[in-house]
Amino acid sequence: MALTSPEKRIWWNEPLSKIELTWIVIAFLWGLTMFGTMVYWHFTGEQNLSNEAYRIRPEVFAERTEAQAEKYKVREEGDTGIPVVKPPAGSDVYMLARRYEFWPILELEKDKQYRLHLSSMDVQHGFSLQPTNINLQIHPGYEMVLTVKPNKTGEYSVVCNEYCGVAHHAMVGRIYVVDSKK
């Protein structure tokens, strides 16, 4: 039994039953398939997280974000005072996370590519883009750069989904995706 030492002194040489052998082979092949699927997706899939990242001081990242916001600000969001920024299609866009906001609001064009730069000013935050449902971790001191291509117009929320302090649940940002003709 499982609670006592094996009955045979040498148990390693016991033959395998067919059932066990078959299951082991199936399970092993399934593992290879799952591994292969991840690798395969890197070559053919459209959703792969970039490996591009840099160390950056929060002040420097904030400067760049502010410079861009000033240059491409198109309006303010209601009476919140938060700028809505619309950088040209294909360009670099910056969004910073800090307790308790994602700043600024971005306006992007559908089916255009952008290089999105993300970083945090203080603690870790979660960048959760809804309703498309993309979730990224944002660290202070690190800048993540990824290429995104919005595939549907609409109003997207950026919800913080890493606990970052008492008002974590109020930390929300926004991204608008509009048709390119507009």
């Binding site: 016991e14 593992g31 870790q124 971790q137 595939n151 989904n161």
Partner: protein, 566 residues
């Protein structure tokens, strides 16, 4: 050799039990149950707060309760219980003495002091940082110190385990190889060493940083090493509860592993690869390469998943073979229908096996894919997944074995048997419910660790789908069910220990908890002699496999619909 050590002989199993092993198991198990009770209560408060219609605690208390819940159940309940399992699987199963019992007690005291200290820190309110305590968010120094003391105590316990099995070998208290269950416990102990080392490497500097003795802790490095601790400790759980499955099947049904080689080989895969899965938590972090992510998150080509799938066949297979030998041989499933479903030790074990495999295992491997993690990271799907593994899987397995530990180690009858009989079903169903509904809400993007999905305090509005509200409500309902199941467990166990009738030799004979004849009933069906009929198990694993493949590719489909990114 055994100088003046006091031993008793267990009237049911004939095992020689060292009095120190008895005492250490009792102490660790009792403290474990106390932390489960405290932590479970916090869990209920958290679930009721996340039920939008109830929204019980205010924000600050919610984050405090969530921190306490994670630490008390995930760390303290589980690890105290695991220490008890380590002493059981070493000293008791090997007929051996605990080496250096004083050190074992020192470990116990350190763990207890550490756990209390961390709880005090959290309840004081300055340490609501979640049990992960990601830097640069800072907790009070005694929060980290508590965790460090706890870890040192646990390391001592693991050391005693190694000392005990090595001494047992030297003193020839057993012959040949370790019993399979002890080998599983050894697997857990090995993973525990890596776990605790990782914890020490990162928590000691973090403690110094909280005292302003170190200027800076890098957040990415912290997270990487912390999960070497945080996730590996989940792997200790897996190795431990798989061992408990084997142990329960052996004690109750006389089940014997189909093949020592296969089961031990599967544990070896755990030892080699299971800990790599710590990478699951870093799949959407900046700057860590896809090669590292894919290799580690897949446990090197899914070799540890292979180990689990093997146990997934071996455990029910052993039960089926044993039951068929005992005459339940009709059709495909008579062996399962005629299993002792009224015995909470068995029902816990089997529910744990099924729920862990179907809910926890499948969801875990799926969300652990590098790219699929993009649609799941930090959503409430994550707690959904691990309530299937660590609550429906580990906790339920631990509850089940308690129904054997109380009569065999505490030597008390279980009281309130009628309630105890229903306990695993209530708790199992509740745990399955919270897992499923949290996974469901996570699939539509609801965040974990989040006080308010209406975003009423936020400057911008967020459109949250109505189904999310419904699922978080149902989560609350099942949380109540799980809490009732958990409360019954605590009450039955405590009452049995305090008021249960003493089990003397006569009582053991009259009312045995261990199947008479155990091992003999199914003595050697080594593969060369006869092939056991495993048709029921084949149906079960086929079902598991088909569910797995379908669910896996459904999630790739979901992924393929989100914004292209690279």
């Amino acid at each position: 050799m055994a100088k003046d050590f006091k031993f008793r002989t267990c009237p049911e199993t004939g095992l020689k039990v060292h009095s120190q092993a008895d005492a250490l198991i009792k102490a660790n198990a009792v403290v474990a149950v106390v932390f489960l009770a405290i932590g479970g209560l916090f869990g209920l408060l958290v679930a009721l707060t996340r039920w939008p219609a109830v929204h019980m605690l205010d924000a600050e208390l919610f984050y405090l309760a969530l921190t306490a819940h994670g630490a008390d159940v995930l760390v303290f309940w589980i690890i105290f219980f695991e220490v008890a399992v380590l002493y059981f699987a070493s000293a008791i199963l090997l007929n051996a003495r605990i080496v250096l019992p004083k050190i074992a007690w020192l470990g116990f005291i350190l763990m207890l002091v550490g756990a209390l200290m961390a709880n005090v820190a959290v309840l004081q309110g300055e340490s609501s940082v979640m049990f992960t305590s990601y830097v640069p968010m800072k907790a009070a120094p005694h929060f980290y110190l508590g965790l460090i003391l706890f870890a040192v105590g646990a390391l001592l316990a693991v050391g005693i385990f190694f000392g005990t099995i090595l001494t047992a070998k030297k003193e020839k208290t057993y012959e040949g190889s370790l019993p399979l269950v002890t080998f599983g416990a050894l697997t857990a102990a090995i993973i525990a060493v890596y776990t605790i080392l990782s914890g020490a490497i990162i928590l000691v500097p973090t403690f110094l940083w909280s005292l302003d003795l170190i200027p800076h802790i890098d957040s990415l490095t912290y997270k990487l090493i912390w999960w070497g601790f945080g996730h590996s400790s989940q792997q200790i759980n897996v190795a431990t509860h798989v061992s408990i499955w084997y142990a329960t099947a052996a004690l109750l049904l006389g089940a014997k592993p189909l093949s020592e080689k296969v089961s031990r080989g599967a544990f070896l895969l755990y030892i080699l690869f299971l800990q790599l899965a710590s990478a699951h938590h870093l799949l959407v972090e900046p700057g860590v390469s896809s090669s590292w992510k894919i290799f580690n998150t897949s446990y090197a080509l899914y070799l540890a998943v292979l180990g689990s799938l093997i146990h997934g066949l071996s455990v029910p297979g052993a039960i089926e073979a044993a039951q068929r030998k005992r005459g339940f041989n009709k059709g495909v499933f008579e062996w399962l229908r005629k299993a002792p479903w009224g015995n909470p030790a068995f029902s816990s074990m089997f529910l744990s096996l099924v729920l862990f495999g179907f809910l926890g295992g499948i969801s875990g491997v799926t969300m652990g894919n590098e790219q699929i993690n993009l649609i799941i990271h930090n959503t409430i799907y994550v707690p959904g997944h691990f309530h299937a593994t660590v609550v429906a899987g580990t906790t339920l397995a631990f509850m089940g074995i308690t129904y054997l530990v109380v009569p065999l180690i505490f030597q008390r009858e279980i009281v309130m048997k009628g309630l105890a009989r229903w306990q695993p079903y209530l708790f199992g169903l509740g745990a399955a419910g919270i897992s499923l509904f949290m996974m469901g809400a996570g699939t539509i993007g609801i965040a974990r660790r989040h006080w308010d999905i209406t975003f009423s305090d936020a400057p911008l509005t967020v459109d949250v789908p109505g189904t999310a509200f419904m699922m978080m409500g149902l989560n609350g309902v099942f949380a109540i069910m799980a809490t009732i199941g958990g409360a019954i467990y605590v009450v039955v166990v405590v009452a049995s220990i305090l008021f249960g009738a003493k089990r003397d030799e006569a009582a053991c004979k009259a009312n045995p908890v261990v199947t008479a004849g155990g091992g003999e009933a199914v003595a050697s069906y080594g593969a060369e002699e006869e092939h056991p009929n495993l048709s029921g198990t084949i149906v079960l694993v086929t079902l598991l496999f088909v569910t797995f493949v379908l669910y896996y590719y459904v999630n790739w489909k979901f992924l393929s619909e989100v914004w292209p990114l690279s």
